[in-house]
């Protein structure tokens, strides 16, 4: 992600993020600023109300938000709901729109109605939820009842309860559950890489500033070796997520494999990164007041969401062809 446009996006979003310190589970002020600049719907076609731009542009934003531990649902709205709506050719409703992970049931009684209990990250803050239905439709409906749950990072991981809710829009476009799983895995891979980078950045600062036994931590060879291993894993996560975004953006033949490998790599890497990160920060990083925990609890949460590494390892093992053809198939 080195070209000029991406640097511009990075700089602009970085400026918006500067100095935020929300303790809420939803940073409304940040969300508003993102909406005002259109970054909340980057990568979503303008025809349906998005901000346009490619998937990699959106990935730059998602990565940066993850790096900062920002409490806004861009992954769920632009990356997931926006994509579903674009696939269905439906316009984006106003307000916060997120996608559900589960299918719901569409039925007709008086008009078109939707029922089901669907896991929906950020559901409590959403005006509308985009759901796939058992009959292959993409359905938009208002969110009324929500059961609140959180992941280890305190992010909303709610269940939206749709009890015979009148739908807002519907389109007869089949989207398979597996496609949603892949899309979710891709965005979590990008987010995991971003949070991992935050751990590395924090560790670099910490070991440069902190002294022990009369020397900066950075002068200890064991610390250097840990830091290098951390940087290696972070780089692996970053490049794998980047390669998967490229492959999906270009609809490569091996895009599904790329997503599987990237989610597996970033999910497995989370343990290494969080582990070394905490070890380098000592007790200080274990306090809820330190920013490290925001990054590591996200790593620990996101690695499980949309399939952890074991899930994707099994999928990769089941892929057709030799190992080498799988390893190289990801970029055509």
């Amino acid at each position: 992600m080195s070209d000029e446009l991406h640097e511009e996006i990075r700089a602009a979003v970085g400026a918006i993020l500067k100095g935020r310190d929300s303790q809420d589970d939803f940073d409304r002020s940040l969300w508003k600023d993102l909406c005002d600049t259109g970054f909340h719907l980057l990568g979503v076609p303008e025809e349906i109300g998005g901000s346009g731009g490619g998937l990699r542009d959106l990935a730059v934003v998602v990565d940066l938000l993850a790096f900062h531990g920002a409490r806004v649902p861009v992954a769920e709205s632009a990356f997931l709901a926006g994509w579903l709506l674009a696939r269905a050719g439906l316009s984006i409703p106003d307000g916060v729109v997120v996608a559900s992970i589960d299918q719901a049931r569409v039925h007709r009684r008086d008009g078109l109605r939707l029922s089901g209990r669907v896991r929906t990250p950020w559901g409590r803050h959403a005006g509308h939820v985009v759901t796939t239905a058992h009959d292959g439709n993409v359905v938009v409906s208002p969110v009324s009842a929500v059961e609140r749950q959180e992941n280890l990072a305190g992010e909303p991981r709610d269940v939206v309860v749709l009890d015979n809710v009148e739908v807002t829009a519907v389109a007869p476009v089949g989207v398979e559950p597996d496609e949603i799983l892949h899309r979710g895995a891709l965005v979590r891979a990008v987010q995991l890489a971003g949070a991992a980078r935050a751990v590395l950045a924090s560790a670099r600062r910490h070991v440069a500033q902190r002294e022990q036994f009369g020397r900066p931590l950075a002068r200890f060879q064991a610390v250097q070796q840990h830091l290098a291993a951390l940087a290696a894993e972070v780089t692996a996560m970053r490049v794998s997520a980047d390669a998967a975004v490229l492959a999906v953006e270009a609809s490569d033949r091996g895009a599904a494999i790329a997503v599987a490998a990237a989610k597996a790599t970033t999910s497995a890497g989370a343990h290494v990164v969080a582990g070394i990160g905490h070890q380098l920060h000592g007790a200080l990083g274990y306090s809820a007041e330190h920013a490290l925990g925001a990054a590591t609890t996200r790593l620990w949460s996101w690695r499980e969401e949309f399939g952890n590494e074991s899930y994707w390892h099994d999928r990769l093992a089941a892929a057709e062809g030799s190992v080498w053809s799988v390893v190289t198939g990801g970029d055509r």
């Binding site: 022990q212 036994f213 905490h278 590591t296 609890t297």
Partner: protein, 381 residues
Amino acid sequence: MTSTIDLVAHRHSTAEHELRDEVRQFLGDQRAAGAFRPRCDAWMTAADPAFSRLLGSRGWVGMTLPGRYGGHDRTPLERFVVVEELLAAGAPVAAHWIADRQMAPSILRNGTEAQRQRYLPGIVKGECFFAIGMSEPDAGSDLAAVRTRAVETPRGWEITGTKLWTTGAHFAHAIVVLARTDGTPGDRHTGLSQFVVDLPHQAVEIRPIVTIDGEHHFNEVVFDRAVVPADALLGDRGAGWRQVIAELGHERSGPERFLSTFPLLEAWAAQTSDDPVAAREVGRLTARAWTLRQLSLAVAADLAAGRSPEVAAALVKDLGSRFEGDVVETVRRVAGAEPRRGADGLAGLLADGVLHSPAFTLRGGTNEVLRSVVARGLGVR
């Protein structure tokens, strides 16, 4: 001639076996009666004074103390058996843990007769809880960088300073503080002394430190010219460092250094019988736990024989604490269950395990520090 740390495997006596059966039966009954729910890291985080008192009434707290202080004159290896059964069950032992593990032997060894009379009977009953004020801001693993000072005044010792990461200070009846009585911070290992400070104390402020699990186990303890009596000094003036180091063998090699996440392993193993991937991993962790237990037991036997296996203890803690994290990482990876704070069953145990995992290899000396101890023991530093 041999180039390894010398440890010899221990075989339990019949008395130890019978004691184990007794404890196991008790814990099974208690759990069935709903007296506790197994938790990861219960010895750090699950404080239940009523349960501690119950254990005291069974004779399972301060077991090795002499009868004249209310103790039961049991052997350190009998205590080992009781403690490992409690840990493996994930029983709520945090309230009395520090008093039983460290302060009872320390007060017995270093305390005056008056201090023994004052504190030991309460410890044995499971009613007198302790905290230890050791780490300080900006010190990290460098315990010798103590800035807290105790100054001798006509009214007694006046203590000023801040201790961080003090477990359980918010419910402890007393705290043992390492403070500088003589010399300057540059002296590091000399001029330090230990004091017993009863809590609450009007000049001692206890502020919670919330950790990334969202809970309050630790405290910042601020001594603002807190005056304690002259006889609050524990052991010899200036011998604080030596006394603290002598406790490390006890602190580092105990079964709590490999069993903190055992309840998670047990819960998972109970539900994985037909998954060959999980079975393989259960077997692997079983083998490792078996070996770590043999190591921990061998160190306990060494301690019981009057030796000070500081190097072996460091080595066992390095291995054991990594195992605790290995259990968590293995279960989460293979089970594919999302951890959920406060949830029943695996999801809740996993959440505790994941959120506490950084602590395993930080508390009681980081693994880097432990390995330095081992390297020095091998003669290569």
